[in-house]
Symmetry: C2
Subunit: 215 residues, 2 copies
DNA sequence: TAGATTGTTAATCGATTAACAATC
DNA sequence: TAGATTGTTAATCGATTAACAATC
């Protein structure tokens, strides 16, 4: 089986995740059809953008009706591997690492956390939900033996690159970086960043601009 | 005092947060100067982009030397209100809400969490760090009396819009949305999203594409 | 001085929007 | 049928990159 769409632009991919979430909700509420206009209105986009985006998929809408929610859901799920089980490890058992390990949303979406690690001896051995915090030295064997796909970096910025290097050397396939720093990997290992503080700063900037207008 | 730069594009703003973090690190390591090339190499950009971005700031570099780290840090801090204290409340005392309330990085960057709320009676009254979980009914008075700037939404998607409406009605200035859904607000109240699951899905897609190449 | 790096202009590239024929 | 909505093309818009004169 080959994918009909060899390369979907990243800007489109990011919106496709929104469609996936929204269509999942529509389906659970029993909606059979959805139009590009409805999707656009609910997600703050234009209907033109939605149609343009969906045209990248191996899936067609119907004139005068829109898109079948079940078909759209299926094809979007496939694009994002939501029909696959992904194995993850979390490195860093601080507040963020703990929250991720306990967050049920991940399990529900097919992302399974198989291990959590820390370098602090006082934390090693403690339990977080059903998981036991392990020594970071055990990362390589865990990644290799359990066919781990994704490594989550939830350590301070100063340790992030070292952890990434270790993950890469151990055969990780992709990295989710929650540390406030840029990480370098070989091209074969994609990295995505979740930058919470940066997002807050972006918000602070936006708020300041509003204020300035009012002055 | 007026800002010389009336409007910096969002794409630039997002990179400016990266420069801010990196320059902060450089300064703490005692570096006095940084060039556009050095910034670019460390953050995965081109030097052209860096110079273009920094030209939006009320700050000039020096030929043959680059940019003074202390000046660059000062002007970037100002753009993102890092020199201001921001007051926040967190709504939702689940794993994510707890993690945010305990995360020290926020305090350090000037984002102070002044309250945490939940609608679950069993959680109300419990402590998270120095904060006590309060009933969501107390959100409006808290926002008003404590001059809260930012509301963090850490509730399930189904409750997110309702919480946002309440925050807006109570005079919040901006919203950080951690829920997996699109939120609508009046234009005067900016919203930024932290979409962790969507980011993971983006990563899953990227990994799948690599795999396909190898096949 | 010679040479490295900025700031800026112009060129390229990509993303979004508008428009409309095709269609059910 | 009439009319709503898709899929797609072309136009617009914005972002990135290349190039280079100015400069210290």
């Amino acid at each position: 089986m080959t994918d009909a769409q060899p390369c979907i632009p990243l800007s489109v991919i990011r919106r496709l995740t929104k469609y996936l979430t929204h269509v999942q909700g529509l389906r659970s509420r029993g909606a059979e059809w959805v139009s590009s206009r409805e999707l656009a209105d609910n997600l703050g986009l234009t209907s033109s953008t939605v149609r343009q985006d969906l045209s990248h998929l191996d899936f067609c809408g119907t004139s005068r009706r829109g898109y079948k929610t079940c078909g759209l859901y299926a094809v979007l799920s496939h694009v994002f591997g939501a029909d696959i089980a992904w194995n993850m490890v979390v490195v860093g058992a601080g507040n963020l690492g703990r929250a991720l390990a306990l967050h049920e949303e991940f399990q529900r979406r097919g992302f399974h956390i198989c291990g959590i690690f820390d370098s602090d001896d006082r934390k090693i051995g403690r339990k977080i939900g059903r998981l036991t915090i392990q020594n970071v030295r055990r990362i390589p064997t865990t990644i290799r033996n359990n066919r781990i796909d994704v490594g989550v970096i939830a350590v301070p910025a100063s340790a992030a690159q070292r952890v990434a290097d270790l993950m890469v050397a151990s055969g990780i396939r992709g990295i989710l970086n929650m540390a406030q720093t840029h990480i370098v990997t070989p091209k074969r290992v994609p990295v995505v960043d979740v930058r919470i503080v940066a997002t807050l700063q972006e918000l602070a900037h936006a708020i300041s601009r509003i204020k300035n207008k009012a002055d």
